[in-house]
């Protein structure tokens, strides 16, 4: 008999209270049935409880977090809440939303091998299984790579390889499509379908990728909508649009950023780079012969995982120094034309939102985080209080006294955006800032930033977003900018990305 029959009945869950965070109900009376071999997708906006549901089904929560659970979760007759997660390795596997949190070793090979070692798979069999699955997922070039040298998307692929290599009866994928490039998302869905396994995908976007899935749900306010099968009904699509899961670009105005008052009579090029070179110890090299961000422009950079987008961003904001070439910031006062801008000058003019918000959030409460930069800038306590309070409302953040460490991933992302919003830098670089945010939240963020900055660089794998919010799109591949993509509809961008792999190979 085919395995992977999951039945959830009247599941309720609430996290315990913590200092600054009251006890809260995450979901109520959730019931769900997945038949063997079925691919089911649960859509949900930010903080809808998707990750908690994924962790509860894999028995990791409440074991590691505490909390009250009631109802039943049954997988092929196995009572999940009553079984230790380690004993479920062959029955149920999960890919976490943040792959870094799932990584326990330092090499891609040993990371994928770890669950096989736990299962006691013989040495002679292991290597074949690992290499075969690296190959299936198109990541053979990562076999001997240290995990620390991989990009966010590549880490997701490594986590997926860990699942493919074990091939449990039930696969749980929490926001797995995030950080993957669009052609790969489509390929991955084909691979998941071909696996014949029961798969539960929890996602906040990428509606169109899942058209071939078998059933669909919406998790909202802790409850699950009735099951939708096959093609989405008009009513369900409307529901997803209202939740910001299907993008609604109709309200989007392609407004130009306004001058934040830095310099008058500035030239058209705000930020340019020539013959920019950066070499990593591992051999990867970034070389940008020419790059320009014009005054008032929203520029998107697209490219497959590991092509050097984040490295370019770090160079542009002065966090790393180029091995060669120069960056010119024409609008920066005090930088003579012809000279390259110094890293400290770039630091002061480019706000860079890291992929991982946790590296930019380091104070005990939301208030402290938002007030910190304003205090450093010498604002008066009254101004700080007023600005912090209004920003909390604008960005939909929890109470000012909430510890950021206790907030969801998307709330931490919004806090990270709010911090930089308050700093009012001339140039903003958003590095996969859409990860963990709904379409509507991200568009809202872009619109807000456009009001205060002079130029915006968006690094994203979300082609619909890139097409919708950008004035210009450039494509990167293999550490180089290949071209301005003049026709940047989402479909054309997707074609370009697919072609870039054919022409230049997958990123090494």
């Amino acid at each position: 008999m085919k395995k992977g029959h999951l039945t959830i009945k009247e599941l309720n869950f609430r996290y315990p209270s913590w200092s600054g965070v009251s006890e809260r109900q995450i979901f109520t009376d959730v019931s769900l049935e997945l038949l063997p071999g079925e691919i089911s997708v649960i859509f949900g906006g930010a903080e809808s409880g998707k990750s908690s549901l994924a962790l509860v089904i894999s028995a990791l929560v409440p074991k590691h977090t505490g909390g009250k659970i009631s109802g039943s979760i049954d997988l092929d007759g196995l009572n999940i809440p009553g079984t230790g997660p380690a004993e479920l390795t062959e029955n149920c596997g999960i890919v976490f939303q943040d792959p870094e949190r799932q990584t326990v070793t330092t090499e891609c090979y040993t990371e994928v091998a770890f669950p096989l070692e736990s299962l006691g798979v013989p040495f002679d069999e292991m290597d074949d299984r690992i290499r075969k699955n690296f190959d299936i997922l198109g990541i053979s070039h990562l076999v001997d790579k240290p995990v620390g040298e991989t990009s966010g998307g590549e880490k997701k692929k490594i986590a997926l390889a860990g699942l493919f290599v074990v091939a449990p009866d039930l696969w749980i994928l929490d926001e797995t499509m995030e950080e993957l490039d669009n052609p790969y998302r489509v390929e991955l869905m084909e691979k998941l379908k071909a696996s014949g396994k029961t798969i539960l995908i929890l996602t906040s976007k990428y509606f169109s990728v899942f058209k071939k899935a078998d059933s669909f749900y919406l998790l909202k306010d802790g409850t699950l909508s009735p099951r939708e099968t096959g093609v989405f009904s008009r009513g369900f699509k409307k529901l997803l649009t209202e939740e910001g899961i299907i993008p609604d670009f109709s309200k989007l105005e392609r407004s130009k950023p306004v001058n934040s008052g830095f310099t008058a009579g500035r030239p058209d090029s705000l930020l340019t780079a020539e013959n920019l070179l950066y070499r990593y110890d591992g051999g990867f090299q970034l070389f940008i012969d020419s790059f320009t961000l014009s005054e008032g422009e929203t520029l998107s950079i697209v490219g497959r995982n590991g092509c050097g987008k984040s490295t370019l961003a770090m160079l542009l904001c002065g966090l790393i120094e180029p091995s060669g070439g120069a960056i010119h910031a024409a609008g920066i006062e005090g930088v003579p034309p012809g000279n390259g801008a110094l890293p400290a000058q770039l630091n002061a003019h480019c706000a860079y939102m890291f992929q991982n918000p946790d590296y930019q959030i380091f104070l005990p409460t939301v208030y402290d985080e938002l007030a910190w930069g304003l205090k450093e800038a010498g604002c008066s306590p009254d101004i700080i209080k007023a600005r912090v309070e209004s920003t909390i409302v604008e960005f939909g953040l929890p109470d000012a006294s909430t510890p950021p460490a206790m907030m969801s991933f998307s709330a931490r992302k919004r806090l990270q955006a709010a911090i930089y919003y308050l700093l009012k830098r001339p140039v903003f670089i958003l590095d996969e800032a859409d990860t963990g945010l709904s379409f509507s939240d991200f568009i809202d963020l872009v619109e807000r930033l456009k009001q205060i900055c002079r130029g915006l660089i968006i690094i994203t794998h979300n082609l619909e977003l890139a097409a919708a919010v950008s004035d210009r799109v450039v494509g990167m591949s293999g550490g180089k900018i290949y071209k301005d993509i003049l026709d940047f509809s989402a479909d054309r961008l997707n074609e370009w990305l697919t072609e870039s792999v054919d022409k230049h190979g997958d990123e090494e």
Partner: protein, 259 residues
């Protein structure tokens, strides 16, 4: 951010089996702790630095020294006034500041710290984490204990990187305020949020690491296998002999030449 101490490369130290290499590491640490001669400690440190140079390159040979430089400076400043044995070299009023005994002890301590840090650096730069686990298991340590040791070691560079990431974030937030190059007090003050952040980051890592290990089946009832194997002891007999020979020679030098 997942970081490791291993530096990819080639050379005899890379192909050396992790078991004799680990035995040699423990032996060298004991040797550095027991040697009281500045000359012998100096020769040993020089030998280790030359090995780092040969295996990892000239630039890397200064990393262990740089990483403990504040400790070395503090040792150099604080040791002589508190160790005033031997002939006096410098007096400040009624206080003896420098004696030849104090200078000798300071030198030995500095060389000892440098030597121990350098051998650890050399070992972990040329030994893969997983090989180290295998070596510890092969030497009789249970898997969980070996994994705990290696995960702890993995998190040292990890926290170092987190520190850099967070200071980068600080730099981006303070840039342009005119306070980014503030005085010592300001810099000391701004260190606290960074340290708090690293602490929060480290604490948050505990449940997520536990979840990750659980999701990968650590702690199952069945026996665990390994994706890598070490050579049988017989196959590394030459390396074992070389290790024993080196240990004998070094012990003889340390015992017979107590300069």
């Amino acid at each position: 951010m997942i970081t490791e101490t291993f530096v990819r490369g080639r050379g005899p130290l890379y192909s050396f089996d992790p078991r004799p290499k680990f035995i040699l590491l423990v032996y060298l640490v004991v040797l550095f702790l027991s040697v009281s001669s500045a000359l012998i400690a100096g020769i040993l440190v020089l030998a280790v630095l030359l090995l780092i140079w040969g295996s990892l390159g000239f630039k890397k040979s200064w990393i262990p020294v740089k990483s403990i430089l504040p400790i070395l400076i503090l040792t150099a400043v604080l040791t002589p006034p508190f160790n005033t044995e031997g002939s006096v070299l410098l007096n400040l009023g009624e206080h003896t500041i420098l004696t030849d005994g104090g200078v000798r002890l300071t030198l030995v301590l500095i060389l000892r710290f440098t030597g121990i840090t350098s051998v650890f650096y050399l070992f972990f730069s040329t030994t893969r984490t997983e090989s180290f686990i295998l070596a510890l298991r092969s030497l009789g340590l249970p898997y969980r204990a070996a994994l705990t040791v290696t995960i702890s070691l993995r998190y040292i560079p990890d926290m170092f990187n987190t520190y850099h990431r967070i200071t980068d974030a600080h730099k981006l937030r303070t840039a342009g305020t005119g306070r980014e190059n503030g005085g010592f007090r300001h810099r000391l003050g701004s260190l606290f949020p960074v340290l708090i952040s690293i602490l929060i980051h480290a604490v948050k890592t505990i449940p997520s690491l536990a979840m990750a290990l659980d999701s990968k089946g650590l702690g199952r009832a069945n026996p665990r296998t390994s994706c890598r194997k070490l050579e049988p002891w017989m196959a590394i007999s030459r390396q074992l002999f070389l290790t024993a020979f080196l240990m004998t020679v070094l012990t003889a030098v340390a015992v017979l030449l107590p300069l």
